[in-house]
Assembly symmetry: C2
Homo-oligomer: 358 residues x 2
């Protein structure tokens, strides 16, 4: 990014912890100022009251109010499976584009495919940054290896949307605090909005998921001894397992961190099907086994060495402590919640990684 | 397809068994006439001399010669990993488009993205059918199930390009000969060129591979008791495993047939890396396990019930017999080469499927 943007996050009608994953990630980690959240249903409140993060960021009713606070960019801050732009967002996006603001979109649907939005953009000279637009030229995976000496870590999950991006960012920061060079590799729209670069691997033509990941990993390994790759989906997710598999084989990690939402019992989006989340120990086995398939038989296993717990939806601290202790007991691995436990939590995970490579 | 095309297959310089997979598949199975193969290096010979199939189909030097034989369509008949149009093909494609012929392209790269080809098409009114162009609207997988009573069969492989499409087509035909209704679901460019419909799942945006597959399977199950889904890639393939995984979870098969090239020792394209093909028994376990991950724990396993052997590159019949017997011994499953063994071979595989559902 050439200038520092001032971002308003659009989450109209959907500004909740369950639905505003992108908004929360950006408010927590973006290196640029977030000046407002746009949600007329809660205008006048504070973002932190609604979702627990975004201290000092006001919720406003519309784009004009956000612009008055200095916003020059509107980021779509929510996502739904399928990746369509919610119809309720279109008037806000039209306002933004007509007023010359830039729109950042991380959904599969492209903003300028909507004729009304194309017209608004033309009228107001508003630009669009498609966070999920992949590069045009991508390689097939399996033919490059990162710089020797670099350690590649992939966060994997018991489900989609359990906190893999958060764990990745916190682990990279913890490794840096512990004196290591660490790069975060963004593989999804929120990570890209935060890091300013990356490839949304779920939006890549399927043949190139592994190749896109491998390319990012090799590039990151040139500049850092630790490459922390943001995971996507889950191998146990009926819709997204292909993305997860391509990412796993493309990253070809040395080590993995398994991420879990301690409150999740049923796979996200599969309540009707009643598909249970598999237990931690089984998931450790699944990822270690699947990672081995792209290697020759007998190649050393890429182990899961720590569990990143997301305890944000548990009722209280005691329940969280019990969940983290339970995870450690079930897997025999160190576990921590890098948000609830703060820097000490992420450092516990980072030390497990460092110890595994010592 | 509204009219019956007369197809010339373009394989200039690449008309060998190893490289002309699409040409061979189309010559063997297409329901429309293939009138010529275009390859100036071997003009004057017969297709069957070069690749063992295509009886009576001449190899010609250029598009004009193919047109004299009645061709109104030129199909790109070879494929390389990465999916670029070979530069050596561009003059032939320009000729075809400038002469008003239709071009069928199954590569990732789109024909009309080349300005010279776009110009030729405009000049000659030549049309392009992009076999790999996915539908614009696709669902997320995991939310639909096929008609109860339909049996979904997926062909899976020890590697890419081992004969999964061929096995699928032969098994579907054998099931029909045995009195069953059977549909073939095309998931790759050659299958689509043969069947006249389908979705090239490796060209779909990665998030939608499972959903695209599921949609095709559910549609096919409305009209047939047996749905035979063409597999892609391999879970042990470092580049394409994500596609394979999405297809596996999207198809959600009841039964699987494992396909193997008996002459293949190293994964295709990974000679430099020396990545060995895993043995049959291990691959059976890998696919059965991975298939189970999108199901609740305790759900009945979708078993691999037969092995489709491709013995075409073995030196002789004795070697083929030994390989097939070896596969049966290693896995305890019936094995056959549906090409070498003819209709009896495919029927052996089909009977294994019928027996598993009895």
């Amino acid at each position: 990014m050439t200038r520092e943007p001032k971002v308003a996050v659009l989450a109209a009608g959907l500004f909740t912890r369950a639905t505003a994953k992108t908004a929360i990630g950006v408010m927590r980690y973006a290196p640029y100022p977030v000046v407002a959240v746009i949600d007329p249903d809660h205008a006048g409140s504070a973002a932190s009251e609604r979702v627990g993060v975004g201290k000092g960021i006001p919720v406003v009713a519309d784009v004009a109010d956000a612009a008055r606070l200095g916003a020059d960019t509107v980021l779509i801050g929510t996502a739904a499976a399928g990746g369509r732009i919610p119809d309720s967002y279109r008037p806000f996006l039209a306002d933004a584009l007509r007023s010359g603001l830039e729109v950042w979109n991380g959904l599969h649907e492209r903003v300028l495919e909507d004729p009304a939005l194309r017209e608004a953009a033309a009228a107001g000279n508003g630009r669009v940054r498609e966070l999920r637009e992949p590069p045009r030229e991508l390689p097939i995976g399996g033919h490059r290896t990162p710089r020797p000496g670099a350690t590649v870590v992939l966060t994997v999950g018991t489900d989609a949307a359990v906190g893999k991006m958060t764990a990745s960012l916190e682990i990279a920061a913890a490794l840096r605090r512990l004196g290591r060079t660490a790069a975060f590799v963004a593989t999804g729209q929120t990570g890209i909005a935060i890091a300013g670069k990356g490839i949304s691997v779920d939006a890549v033509v399927a043949d190139f998921v592994a190749g896109a990941t491998e390319e990012m990993v090799c590039e990151a390994a040139e500049g850092a001894d630790w490459v922390i790759v943001e995971g996507q989906g889950a191998l146990t997710h009926p819709g997204f397992s292909g993305v997860t598999m391509g990412l796993l084989h493309g990253a070809a990690p040395h080590l993995m961190v398994l991420c879990d939402d301690a409150a999740r019992r049923v796979m996200k989006g599969y309540d009707r099907e009643g598909l249970p989340v598999r237990d931690l120990r089984e998931c450790v086995g699944i990822y270690e086994l699947a990672a081995s398939w792209r290697r020759p038989p007998g190649h050393p296993v890429a182990p899961v060495v720590a569990i990143a717990m997301n305890t944000g939806l548990l009722p209280d601290d005691a329940a969280a402590r019990a969940a983290i202790a339970g995870a450690e007991q079930a897997t025999g691995l160190p576990a921590a919640d890098p948000i609830r436990d703060g820097t000490a939590g992420a450092e516990r995970l980072a030390r497990a990684l460092i110890g595994a490579r010592a």
